[in-house]
Symmetry: C2
Subunit: 338 residues, 2 copies
DNA sequence: TTGTACGCGTTATCAT
DNA sequence: ATGATAACGCGTACAA
């Protein structure tokens, strides 16, 4: 297979100069005569020369790309966060390699291995819901590859992280439900292994305790991130002999399911049931009644994670204490709460 | 900066064999003794050796990655399509580099240039809405880098494409509106440069013509892909002295805007206004009434595009006639149509 | 200011 | 079955 791609050598030969001269001229190296620089650049332009980043990267010891490992692109929060990362990466000339785990630890492990092999400059990771073994993350750190967790983090690994105040905002949401007259408040959460779900549960618990509300086991629901599990769990919760009159849901997706089930069971929102979701997805404001939810600074979270990652990349030998950045969320009250 | 990464050389030295032997052993080359193969593999495992893909790629002449260039990740269709591509790429050991143009041609051009430099194995592209100059695509073809368009294509470039039968399904949708009694049917479309919007417009026109409906200029709307433009356009359309009694919207997003405006103006859906969207986004079924829409085979489109791209990658010298794969969409009728 | 020589980590080719 | 050497395309230290 013949490869006609133009390379430094070709330009050098035509101009009867050395490859290094061409290399320097193209990168505006200071000690190069204006004349040759322009000759070189002109010819490069004519020949449609495109530098080979792979060769450059081999010298750099890493790719000009960062790896982003997330559960699912279709979770709106991640799509937004990635836009935030892009803004940072683009300016620095880095690409973003996105990999979805689909909530599978095995895929997560394979992806990490694969990306290590690709010699990406660093990782930004949000854990799969099923991940409880952290050896693959430890491996990243052992190899001293920059790593930042965001949103769903892993406490066992000593590294930077960017998260949201899940505890605080959940507490605040439940506070609101209490103040607006709810008496039987439930938490509709994700799988029991998921950190952020548990943090929100703690916030929920704290708010109840503050107001001397009892903790009722039936009102604390854990369910998988798939519509069927959620639908069944919703049926059980709303079908209790003493059903809740308010629910804090782990996500807007879960809240949608609760809307659906409530409609089917003839339960009116918000008079019989107050509902608060999480994420402020675009459709939330279109529901009838519009869904109250927690707006997450997803774009900012992605941007911040990328900024911190590039600090690590650009100062690889700095001794640093792993920092945890906590971004503030905002409770958005709409028609689904009283 | 010391880099302690284990490489072939290290393993070779410890085992007192040559680098080539190690290289071959690790890749299960046939002509290597079982004994050494196992010795090598065992040590590699112990030392936590991870092959350097960058070095490999330098020889391959291209990265083990494909570039995916799309308008926006937050359009649900693209998130789904990417999952389809991932399924194919993963099996072949390729990564996916995703770049968003945010509907800007300038970004699109920069991204293409950047990805060419990165020596990705191929491109899968869906055009930015504003792109009317195609030189950057021509450049890809000139360099003989595999390229597949999907969803939003570019007719001027001779290459493979995977699209949806926009004409046919729009015609079918309008047919349905006519048969269910609508008399004044409007098309609420995207920017005038966007191919797929125009194809749908042609389908709309064809259906009207089939039934001897007049073509009314006021009923054909072009608007930008941002909420404000859409909101204003919706106001103008619904505020006409003789407003439409049915609308085919270019996207569910646009349909949402029409819902909102209709509510504000006290127009009832579906009795006073029938509405059909495009994309079957998750939230469509939750609206009241639920939105009738066109379900697009987004996952299949991504998967097919990737399959075709890898055909190009694996058979670079095949003479081939650029193929156009047209996937079928499906009209999903719900409460927003009569 | 420019050229020479070597290294980045791996694989392919040719030799043994 | 294994080893030696060159090559992939570029950047850089050192020399001139």
């Amino acid at each position: 297979m013949t490869d006609n791609t133009i390379k430094l050598k070709d330009i050098a030969r035509i101009l009867s100069v050395s490859e290094s001269t061409v290399s320097r001229a193209l990168r505006d190296h200071p000690r190069i005569s204006l004349a040759t620089r322009e000759r070189v650049k002109k010819l490069a332009e004519q020949l449609d020369y495109v530098p080979n980043q792979v060769a450059r990267n081999l010298q750099n010891r890493h790719m000009n790309a960062i790896g982003v490992v997330i559960p699912k692109l279709s979770y709106h929060l991640y799509a937004q966060a990635i836009s935030g990362m892009e803004e940072v990466a683009e300016q620095l000339g880095y690409n973003i390699i996105i990999c979805q785990t689909n909530e599978s630890t095995e895929r997560e492990q394979n992806i990490v291995q694969e990306l290590l092999s690709t010699r990406i400059a660093g990782f930004i990771i949000s854990l799969s819901s099923s991940t409880v073994d952290f050896e693959h993350f430890a491996k990243i750190k052992r190899r001293k590859v920059p790593l930042v967790f965001f949103n769903r983090e892993c406490e066992d690994i000593h590294t930077d992280r960017v998260i949201i105040d899940n505890f605080g905002v959940a507490r605040q949401a439940v506070e609101h439900l209490i103040r607006s007259g709810s008496k039987r408040i439930a938490y509709f959460g994700g799988p029991a292994e998921v950190q952020i779900s548990n943090r929100r549960l703690e916030g929920y618990t704290a708010a109840l305790k503050d107001h001397q509300f009892p903790l009722i086991a039936d009102y604390i629901v854990h369910t998988e991130f798939n519509p069927r599990s959620a639908y069944e769990a919703a049926g059980r919760l709303l079908g209790l002999s003493t059903p809740p009159d308010a629910i804090l849901a782990f996500s807007d997706q879960f809240a949608y399911t609760l809307y659906q089930k409530a409609r089917e069971m003839g339960i009116d929102i918000p008079t019989e049931l107050s509902l608060i979701g999480f994420n402020n997805e675009p459709a939330t404001s279109l529901l009838l009644p519009a869904l109250s939810t927690v707006d997450q600074p997803a774009f900012a979270m992605g941007k911040t994670a990328a900024e911190i990652l590039f600090q690590q990349i650009q100062h690889p030998n700095d001794y640093y204490r792993a920092q945890t950045k906590v971004l503030q969320s905002r409770l958005v009250l709409r028609g689904s709460t009283r």
